[in-house]
Amino acid sequence: MAGQADEPERAAARALPPLDPRLALAVVIGGALGTLLRTELATHWAHDPAAWPWATFVVNLAGAAVLGWVVVRTAGRPHRHGLLGTGLCGGLTTFSTFQLEVLQMLDAGHSALAFGYVVASVGAGLLLARWAGRLAAGAGR
């Protein structure tokens, strides 16, 4: 029974449905647009570790709000969700740069700024995602 050990792995691999090429394209286009927007803001709104990272802060909060809205309004429309949610909002917002900014603040000894930045981002991000979702559920139904 040499093949038996492989069985669960193959069964699991089969369980993953093939990627829909239209969804992939929608995510790529949305992701490119979102990234473009974030990059434009970041290059014109540069920051140093001693100051509030306004560019990342603004795109992350805007993206959290837009995603809250998009999830409700694109329910049952996977391609539209891929373009606007997974693509645009995912590309617009960033976790990696956010973490790098926090690390650089800590390096520079601005731990209070780092703490405030994390709390404000997460707190406002959660509130905005919820508020936008409720707004979307209430509007135009």
Binding site: G34, T35, T94, T97, Q99, V102, V122
Partner: protein
């Protein structure tokens, strides 16, 4: 920033978003993990690679294309917030708190470790 670099940053972002979809699908679909686990894996691995990139400190254009473009598109703040709020809305306050603290803690450790490995 030149037009070619801008285009490359956007292409990197599109590719990163697709990579996020694929990794998320693999984590959630193949291993049967809860949906937020996919975002966690994406964000932590993205933070590690950005740390690596910061440590290696390549030319400015490459940093923009890979760091701002590819990794910025790959990792996500919005989905992290959305999924955390969904946990909270379902009464799973502990899962919501862990999703925030875990991503922050492990992500910060990952980016610090990446930078150390990269020599920064």
């Amino acid at each position: 920033m030149s037009a070619a670099t801008t285009l490359a940053v956007a292409a990197g972002g599109g590719l990163g978003a697709l990579l996020r979809l694929l990794v998320g699908r693999a984590v959630v679909g193949r291993f049967g993990a809860p949906i937020a686990r996919g975002t966690f894996v994406v964000n932590v691995t993205g933070a590690f690679v950005l740390g690596l990139l910061t440590g290696l400190a390549p030319a400015r254009d490459l940093t923009l294309i890979l760091g701002t473009g590819l990794l910025g598109g790959y990792t996500t703040f919005s989905t992290w917030m959305f999924e955390t709020d969904r946990f909270a809305g379902e009464g799973a306050g502990r899962a919501a708190a862990w999703n925030v603290a875990g991503s922050l803690g492990v992500g910060l450790l990952a980016i610090w470790l990446g930078r150390a490995v990269g020599g920064g």
